[in-house]
Symmetry: C2
Subunit: 382 residues, 2 copies
């Protein structure tokens, strides 16, 4: 009945489904174990009628024109620019650490001279990874690097990942560089925003073509099996294409062992006041057990007499009860992933797309772009 | 794979699904042609963040203790009591027509003497169908009946059904009687209210058991066929039980002709003020082309600086583009329905539940009760 089966109705799965029915005019079966589409981008109105993100804050930002244009077919945007403050030494200061942060945290003369040195060495308006700054030979810059490392990176990374920054792939610490700039925004991408009426409405629009059959509450294992490099759907050999966006180790029954992930526990709260904090997100690198607090009304622009916030408590991932939020970017795990990938490559009619199936800490725009590219590849193959 | 397949994820289908997985611990496939569950009860937050009912206002009310207890497992309630005003002779007066309406519309002395006569003849706190009152031999009561018929019933019925009250089954006009009482509420049921966090959250809770596989965007005809009194699922003879909550004539390919329905067109609007009208619903029997305007914030209790309203324009049903909101309660159509029912009765593993499959103008509580009873019957049969 179906030429295409997609496992997972997150961003990757929904983009693939939309492209297949729209461009190829084929039928798609989209299998999702949750009772809603949209994956971790899912948002909904909470008990007080405030739009919140169920699986933590999702701020869309991209420099990819094609991705922005593609998604803009399905939603208008609230042109939100994300600002993050870090609670450091009792003050809330701009994150990523930038020249304003420098002046807020350090005595004026010292800040001034460090600013001069930074600009002279790296140039104004540049981004420097902390681990690179730490290697400075200049004593003052080394002092600054250690200060920032200590106050901004070390404890946040330990909370978030359970390890020190050095133990992670540099791509992770590079996500939040030091920014030699007075730009207080968290992202500098050309396009930033949130779907004007929420992510869920955007996904519903993407999936409105009746050629996309959406099967909720359904674990793919109830329908799909892989044996001897063949895919079986309801116990019959499946001749179509399987697009898998779930955990690759689960697809192969953990044959080579489990791929590790980092998980989160969320604590949500609605407060009887109009606003709780100054910006969308405040990071707590050194205090408390949560990494950050996000206040959704800043992100969505919603007006409401109350306000809903969410605290994030990182934790190890247990496959029987947790959500695998982040693949852990470490060499050894990437090697384990490659073993699974090799196994997958022997299955002609299998495509892997998305953060879980590719075991990469992708942002939303990159996932979308990946899915759009893979769609083209899938199409050409046929 | 499935012992139970349910067509339609409206109230009837969801109750059946919930009962089957909870009580029998069986797997259910729930097939729904829309991209959401909840049928016509579906509600969502509109573009301005106001909770609205997509398919017109749904106010839950019942005297059935078992129904209230059953649904209360899945939701708390906002204890709303529905009030309707009718725009008559330029004034908004209580509907159903009651003693207060009488005094508001007629001169004081006349109203007083009619009130005495009504109470004497029918008793205080009784409900009288208009077509019964019209048969009064007393000249004053006959005058009153004609007045009410003219001002309240005739034009509303013509708009709503496209025919005069006399042409319909009495059960329809009896839905809104004359109420010899000072009770201004639209319903007198013991239990009344709206799900505290909306119907959709109630349905999601009903369907959260992963043994309910929900297939959205899927017309049952893509999977199910009936031939020679046998049900085929994906072209194989289906041995389990099919619970069908859709249109019975569609199930049998309109073999005996189409069952007629009445449909509606909705026009929604959000206004830049806190409230638009005094009560949840205002009826317009004699003016404009809509039958009524409902303002959702009255129903849901939501606080918001804006307000969303919906106007209802009844229209004939066209099976290629309209939603079949109301079966039309006329003898000839019931006879046509019976032919389909007889055909259905020859299929051992088919159950019909709900407003469409039973071709009856059921309220939500009656549908729930029907489904609960049919579930018991289905269980005993096995």
């Amino acid at each position: 009945m179906f030429n295409y089966i997609i496992v997972g109705a997150g961003l990757a799965g929904c983009v693939m489904a939309e492209r297949i029915v729209t461009v190829l005019d084929e039928k798609v079966l989209l299998i999702e174990k949750r009772n809603h589409v949209g994956g971790n981008c899912y948002d909904y109105y909470d008990k007080n009628g405030i739009l919140v993100h169920k699986y933590g804050p999702h701020i869309f930002h991209t420099n990819l024109e094609n991705v922005w244009t593609y998604l803009s077919q399905f939603t208008d945007w609230y042109n939100y620019q994300h600002h993050v403050l870090g609670f450091i030494d009792g003050e809330k200061v701009p994150i990523p650490f930038n020249l304003n942060t420098l002046h807020e945290l350090l005595p004026e003369n010292l800040a001034g001279s460090l600013e001069d040195k930074l600009i002279k060495k790296f140039g104004f308006n540049t981004k420097i990874p902390i681990l690179k700054l730490k290697k400075s030979e200049d004593e003052d810059l080394k002092f600054l690097a250690d200060f920032i490392y200590e106050k901004v990176f070390l404890n946040y990374t330990k909370k978030q990942w359970g390890v020190k920054p050095e133990e992670l792939d540099p791509s992770v610490t590079e996500r939040v560089p030091i920014y030699i700039s007075k730009d207080n925004r968290y992202f500098q991408d050309k396009y930033q925003g949130l779907p004007l009426h929420g992510y869920h409405q955007m996904f519903q629009k993407m999936l409105e073509n009746p050629n996309i059959k959406i099967m909720l509450n359904t674990n793919f294992k109830e329908l799909i099996k892989v044996e001897n490099n063949e895919i079986y759907f309801e116990n019959k050999k499946f001749q179509g294409k399987l697009i898998f966006t779930g955990q690759i180790d689960e697809l192969f029954n953990y044959e080579y062992g489990e791929l590790p992930y980092r998980s989160l526990k969320f604590k949500s709260e609605t407060l009887n006041k109009e606003y709780f904090q100054e910006t969308g997100t405040v990071n707590y690198p050194n205090n408390y057990n949560y990494t950050r607090i996000t206040e959704f009304k800043h992100l969505t622009g919603q007006k409401h007499e109350k306000t809903s916030i969410i605290r994030e408590y990182p934790k190890p991932y247990n496959k029987n009860k947790d959500i695998p939020y982040y693949p852990i970017p470490k060499k050894e795990y990437n090697q384990l992933y490659k073993k699974y990938l090799e196994k997958a490559s022997k299955i002609n009619n299998l495509s892997l797309v998305g953060r879980l199936a590719e075991y990469k800490y992708y942002n939303m725009d990159i996932v979308t772009n990946e899915a759009l590219s893979k769609f083209k590849r899938v199409t050409n193959e046929r």
